[in-house]
Symmetry: C2
Amino acid sequence: MANDKKMVEQITSMDVDFAQWYTDICKKADLIDYSSVKGCMIIRPYGYAIWENIQNILDTRFKELGHENVYMPMFIPESLLQREKDHVAGFAPEVAWVTHGGSEKLTERLCVRPTSETLFCEHYANIIRSYRDLPKLYNQWCSVVRWEKTTRPFLRSREFLWQEGHTMHATKQEAVDETVQMLNVYADFHEKDLAIPVIKGRKTPSDKFAGAEDTYAIEALMHDGKSLQAATSHFFGDGFARAFDITYQTKENTLAYPFQTSWGCTTRMIGGIIMTHGDNNGLVLPPAVAPIQVVIIPVAAHKPGVIEKATELYDELKKSFRVKLDDSDNSPGWKYAEYEMKGVPLRIEIGPRDIENGQCVVVTRHNLEKAVVSLENLTETVSAKLTEVRDGMFEKALANRERRTYSCKTIDEINEALKAGDGFVKAMWCGEEECEDSVKEQTGIGSRCIPLEQEQIEDVCVCCGKRAKHMVVWARAY
Amino acid sequence: MANDKKMVEQITSMDVDFAQWYTDICKKADLIDYSSVKGCMIIRPYGYAIWENIQNILDTRFKELGHENVYMPMFIPESLLQREKDHVAGFAPEVAWVTHGGSEKLTERLCVRPTSETLFCEHYANIIRSYRDLPKLYNQWCSVVRWEKTTRPFLRSREFLWQEGHTMHATKQEAVDETVQMLNVYADFHEKDLAIPVIKGRKTPSDKFAGAEDTYAIEALMHDGKSLQAATSHFFGDGFARAFDITYQTKENTLAYPFQTSWGCTTRMIGGIIMTHGDNNGLVLPPAVAPIQVVIIPVAAHKPGVIEKATELYDELKKSFRVKLDDSDNSPGWKYAEYEMKGVPLRIEIGPRDIENGQCVVVTRHNLEKAVVSLENLTETVSAKLTEVRDGMFEKALANRERRTYSCKTIDEINEALKAGDGFVKAMWCGEEECEDSVKEQTGIGSRCIPLEQEQIEDVCVCCGKRAKHMVVWARAY
């Protein structure tokens, strides 16, 4: 590799300081910048383009499943937030309050939405009358605010971008099915498009969303062995419907409360991409969401015919891919380092000798492997390479997770296992919150979820020794 | 027309009460709903889909011209807002202030962004170093807040959706060119895609954006003869750059301030569509942004073969258009009224006799004309019809504007002309703010813009009789 050492040395090694390595990538790959607005981030063009690609893929899937986009106000009057008691208890401590409009004090203060269940419910009470109005399958792309004390780009910031689906259904079963369906959409998106293996599961009662009957989540293991909750899907039962007096006339002419779900994922996923795939050369992006999928770098560009040939390849490839030709006067070595830092999945190098031989060099970012390929059928070759890249990234991430997943039968086994480094611990649980807390106290890891795919590690709870109800995945988490 | 009278009667006639007619359409066409958040609106799926289509078209154009999307924080610290004195004077009286995060009082209050010049400038000061970093062509899609006293859906609400472009250039000329280029993008979009004729012009000094050297705008005449400022484009000179200490190293190795622009358009455009094209049957949507471009309505749907044929047409047309087949059990008459209310550009009626004759009925919403067309090459026919609809809508709107445009040489002529109803008044102006105010006082109409295409109505100012500098378009405005 002819990398420009000066540039690569700017990143802290991930083995030396993972947190600093993460922040370095966010800055050096031009994903974010800071501003005088504490706890918030500027998402720069390269970072925002990743988000746009995520949005495009998910929005298409949501719509294929019948969901429609809407836009709700960004403010919630305090009295509206208080309509569902568990909900307000969960969110009130971390909202930003608007108290003045211009120079006038408001008669009622407004919070900047931390989530929009209350607004959707108020609207649903207006527009749902009959079973013919159900289901309502709404989604919203917007920003939300939660007044966090400690913040990190993408992972935890006071403002973040997300989508929030809010649906209403005639029956409980339909709502449960929707909750699980959307969990599967998120899981599928993470595994196929982001190349991030995930565990699908239910949260324990202590970890449910404020106001939900059941919270489902997908959990992904980051490179450092910590877990990231990557998306959530909630089943609300009819609790909010009762609190907001949302009723509908059934086919049988009776009044009933509809059943509700909500589900969301956020710019946090970009943090998940960085911490799953990144390495000491920088970002590594999955092809499906990479702003640039292929970068073409002319070598010995001053030689006759090189720029022309590079442009010809560019013109061919741009019909099928997001491609960039970098014909600037920076050195090839500088460019290699630059696009490695930016995580571009494929790099094509083309110089005079390659042209003579009707070939070019293709370097895959995730493993930095070089291949010499024919210029004939280059579109097909690139397409196959991108599939190979996605698969290779997924396998690599999965291998990391498997290496760091420990099945444990006792607290001692957990503590022993964690000496090798953080990871997912599979262990049995009796279902009591006391034991959940006790495991955390004794080992430092908390329950992440009750996986939908259960295994019987042992018959009894890892903590109290009583009959176990579930296998739980435990980990330290972001 | 077999319209269901019950439904159509729900709208106030536009001739009786234009404001009420407007609000009725917003509600009855399912564009918006109200909530307990005063002055804000819920944009419902049908309204939001119009906005998504607007976004798609404009975003593609912006990107073709080299612009990149970013995301800035939604909050602005008070001290940052104050960095440019004209800017803060213009916006401070109408911003919403966040004073508390959770239960803690903030050390400095934050406003919810009314516009983001200050945030962009702070960021540009960080990332612009050399002439190689210029131009910076950034855009942001987001919501903004201005604490208006009197609000109306789409036209003026405390929160609205918009895009704001913010660009930085090495030379003044480049920045002026960008300002005009983006004005032309807006004008072109309005005329070609929204079928709304516009006048391009500069604002008079008293009407400029807070902090701008020059504000350009497009003005459209609504059906009631009032003007709507539909989009704006500002040239800032280097005023903000100086206030924010943004400098760059020139090719000649000196330090210089870059020149800046910003430009924006908002959900207000949806109000413009309603008031330009709507009629007493409801909304009339231009095909380019209509969520449903063609609705297919089976007639005598119980007869054998009708639903099958309608479905066949649907399957054919959906390859090229946004099309809906309404095979619900509502009556055809009810459906006609419903999709007229929703402004669907084309309606296809297909019944047993049509099928026998290998034809269908096509009704164009903007003029309610019926045509019998062959089922052969229906895609081509529909495509041609949609072009015809766009052209017909534009001509109709242009004819309304021309009928309501008056060239006046004196104040008396203005007052005489306005007796026929509101409209655009073209009259000469000396350039003095006193005369601008005086015209408004004496006639009730204000200056809308100094059109880029000037006419010489008279040699002297319509107000003071001194030598005229510009022809101004005057009108009452939204």
